[in-house]
């Protein structure tokens, strides 16, 4: 993992001292509330419904055990004993006091963590594939370049006051687990004629106008990355709309000007910017890369795993859903579900964080990851150790066997925390999870991604849920719209609206009708909900959702 250089450490100390002074200058009136707002946002501090919220970056989703323990410490010392892992590899604390925030930032700095540019109209913390460095299907580890982008985008003098926020994601694997096509810039590491480089995707985004990103450069040689990124963002900085915040994202700039125009502008600017880089960035990258080298995997006989798998049905169910193939056959990638049935998706208590840190230290070469699906990952665990890991997780309510299943729901904070919410989303997720758990249908249903947003801003990614749920406000009453067939992987698709929305009390029966229709229609257990939807189209699912309409036709 990346170790902060003296430069990084000194930068962070200076930055935190600046923020401490900004808080004081807000209080003494030197800074107006308007002026303070973007300054606190670029340091991760949001104002929510009930209190401030501090959003801390998990750099490209990677943590070590000391960092995880420090996150637990913050939860205990300055919050209510828990934190919330988000869809963008952040952790949010929902109850800090403004005067404590500078101390929280200093505590984070002790372990090389920060909240810089996790918010505001800046380049946000870059996200990456959460299985990076472990997945069997990986071409290259995206984290070294994500770290390079972190350094480049941090405090970039040109880009702290962009028209709107700007999100970059990187994947090094053909199976896109980083949702690169729904980012302002998505980078896919690719190889051409033996040379490595990037496919550059621009203008994706969810929110109120969901768009799938378009390829602006099919192959960008590795060494050209920073000037090319800088070209895109500087073209956007001048061209992006500042008159209407709903039209300010680069997806709208691309849509209004056309990808060809944007490409021409970017390529022209790139030619100039290339001359401003002399290879020092690539030399830094070369120093970063070895720090992400795989640990020395210890070969262990898998017998304990095989025995537990054969004899313990609870372990087997967990192993079947929560493990992913590791590039090392006697190891596995463990996904720890933060979606216990009935719990708040993505929440972890300080005790749970400490347990996960202990397990990482003992069994996982000191590494943890945070996924955009709001779960925690132990990327490298010897199969022999899995029974012990599972047993330990059970003691802390962390052994739920539901990764990728109907109760592994992404939900935004919604009405429970968010000032912009038009409906609840966490309670909806809890209801769905407990309901299908009680029906004991979850494992039979198989892979199914439900994603819930509490308003049109789409923080819960509902557009790319196989079943998406969007909570709206209709004349003071919550109303839930369902979208179908969305997909956030390399085949990214925006879901299709199924029809009129449902009142809160009608939503759960509607979801159940939908799922039961799928179970009847599928050709077998191998055909997932999404596959069946793609084969059959929306009609039979609509019929299940709106039986009255079908009955009216029949009458």
């Amino acid at each position: 993992m990346y170790k902060y250089t003296e430069f990084d450490t000194a930068f962070l100390a200076e930055r935190n001292a600046q923020f401490r002074a900004q808080v004081e200058r807000r209080i003494d009136g030197s800074l107006t509330e308007d002026e303070f707002k973007p300054l606190r946002l670029m340091n991760g501090l949001y104002l929510q419904l009930h209190a401030y919220m501090l959003r801390v970056a998990i750099p490209y989703g990677t943590l070590n055990s000391a960092q995880m323990r420090q996150l637990a410490l913050l939860a205990v010392k300055w919050d209510k004993g828990y934190g919330h892992f988000t869809t963008r590899q952040n952790i949010q604390y929902n109850w800090p006091l403004l005067r404590d925030v500078p101390d929280m930032l200093d505590a984070l700095a002790e372990v090389g963590l920060h909240a810089i540019q996790t918010s505001g109209n800046t380049i946000r913390n870059v996200t990456a594939d959460h299985f990076a460095g472990a997945a069997a299907d990986e071409l290259a580890d995206p984290r070294p370049v994500a770290e390079l982008i972190r350094q480049w985008s941090t405090d970039h003098p040109e880009f702290q006051f962009l028209p709107r926020k700007f999100k970059i994601a990187v994947t090094g694997s053909p199976n896109d687990r980083a949702v690169t096509r729904a980012h302002d810039i998505g980078l896919r590491m690719v190889e051409r004629d033996g040379e490595t480089g990037y496919e550059v995707i621009v203008g994706g985004g969810l929110g109120r106008t969901p768009m799938i990103g378009q390829v602006i450069r099919e192959f960008l040689p590795r060494g050209d990355l920073l000037p090319y990124l800088e070209a895109i963002v500087s073209v956007y900085n001048l061209l992006g709309r500042r008159d209407n915040k709903y039209k300010a994202r680069i997806k709208i700039t691309v849509h209004e000007n056309g990808i060809e125009t944007i490409r021409d502008l970017v390529e022209t600017r790139f030619e100039t910017l290339k001359t401003a880089f002399n290879g020092a960035d690539q030399a830094l990258l070369a120093q970063i890369e070895p720090q992400f080298a795989a640990p020395d995997f210890v070969a262990k006989d898998t017998a304990p795993y095989d025995r537990a798998y054969a004899t313990d049905p609870v372990f087997r169910a967990w192993a079947d859903t929560n493990l992913t193939a590791h590039r090392q056959a006697d190891h596995a990638i463990v996904s720890i579900s933060l979606k216990a049935h009935g719990a708040t998706p993505g929440d972890a208590t300080a005790d749970q964080m400490r347990l996960m840190a202990d397990l990482a230290a003992k069994y996982a070469y000191d590494e943890l990851r945070i996924s955009h699906e709001q779960n925690v990952i132990l990327p490298h665990v010897a199969r022999a150790d899995l029974p012990a890991v599972h047993a330990a997780l059970k003691t802390a309510g962390l052994a739920t066997a539901n990764i990728g299943l109907i109760s592994d729901i992404i939900a935004c904070p919604g009405m429970d925390y968010c000032a912009l919410a038009t409906a609840r989303s966490i309670p909806i997720a809890q209801e769905i999870a407990t309901h299908f758990d009680a029906l004991k249908l979850e494992h039979d249903i198989g892979p199914l991604k439900i994603k819930i947003s509490g308003c049109i801003n789409a923080c819960g990614h509902h557009h790319v849920g196989h079943i998406g749920i969007l909570g709206l406000d209709r004349a003071g009453v919550e109303n839930y719209q369902i979208t179908l067939g969305g997909d956030g992987t390399e085949d990214a698709v925006i879901g299709e609206r199924a029809g009129p929305g449902f009142a809160a009390e009608d939503l759960l029966p509607a979801i159940e009708r939908l799922v039961r229709a799928y179970l009847e229609l599928r050709e077998g257990r191998d055909e997932t909900f999404l596959d069946a939807y793609r084969r059959l189209g929306v009609a039979p699912f609509k019929a299940a959702l709106y039986p009255e309409a079908r009955d009216r036709h029949a009458a």
């Binding site: 030197s30 040109e158 702290q160 006051f161 290879g279 020092a280």
Partner: protein, 139 residues
């Protein structure tokens, strides 16, 4: 210093206006113009630079960051004379302005009273802690 006068901020702190001539708006600029007011929506790649001794770029709001890219673009084109940011630029942006290529910032007396000299001097160390300088090999 009268209330409607402006303050010039440089690394050494506050000083008063020392550019004696008038600034010409871009649309009235001629080959003889030496001081140019370049609006935030100008195309930095086509503005004629020959003969200019100072360019002033306005910030209508501190939240509108176009000026930073304009400054960087002019420098990349080889403009080496004076470059000034003017208007609503806050002390917290001083380092960004300098790093983007501005030489100085012109602020109102009102803003200078609210954010006094020490708050600007606190950012005069803009050459330190600069990721861009590392990445561009200019540190």
């Amino acid at each position: 210093m009268t209330l409607n006068s402006t303050v010039i901020v440089r690394d050494q702190g506050f000083s008063s206006e020392d550019w004696q001539g008038a600034f010409t708006p871009l649309e009235e600029a001629t080959a003889q113009t030496d001081a140019l007011d370049m609006p935030a929506n100008a195309d930095p790649d086509t503005v004629a630079l020959a003969g200019l001794r100072i360019i002033r770029i306005p910030f209508a709001s501190f939240a509108d960051g176009r000026g930073f890219t304009l400054a960087r673009s002019l420098r990349l084109r080889g403009y080496t004379a004076r470059l000034r940011a003017s208007g609503h630029v806050i002390a917290d942006q001083y380092a960004m302005a300098r790093r983007a290529g501005f030489d100085e910032v012109e602020i109102s007396a009102e803003l200078a009273a609210r954010q006094p000299e020490d708050q600007w001097l606190a950012r005069a160390n803009w050459q330190a802690h600069d990721y861009q300088a590392r990445l561009r090999g200019t540190a």
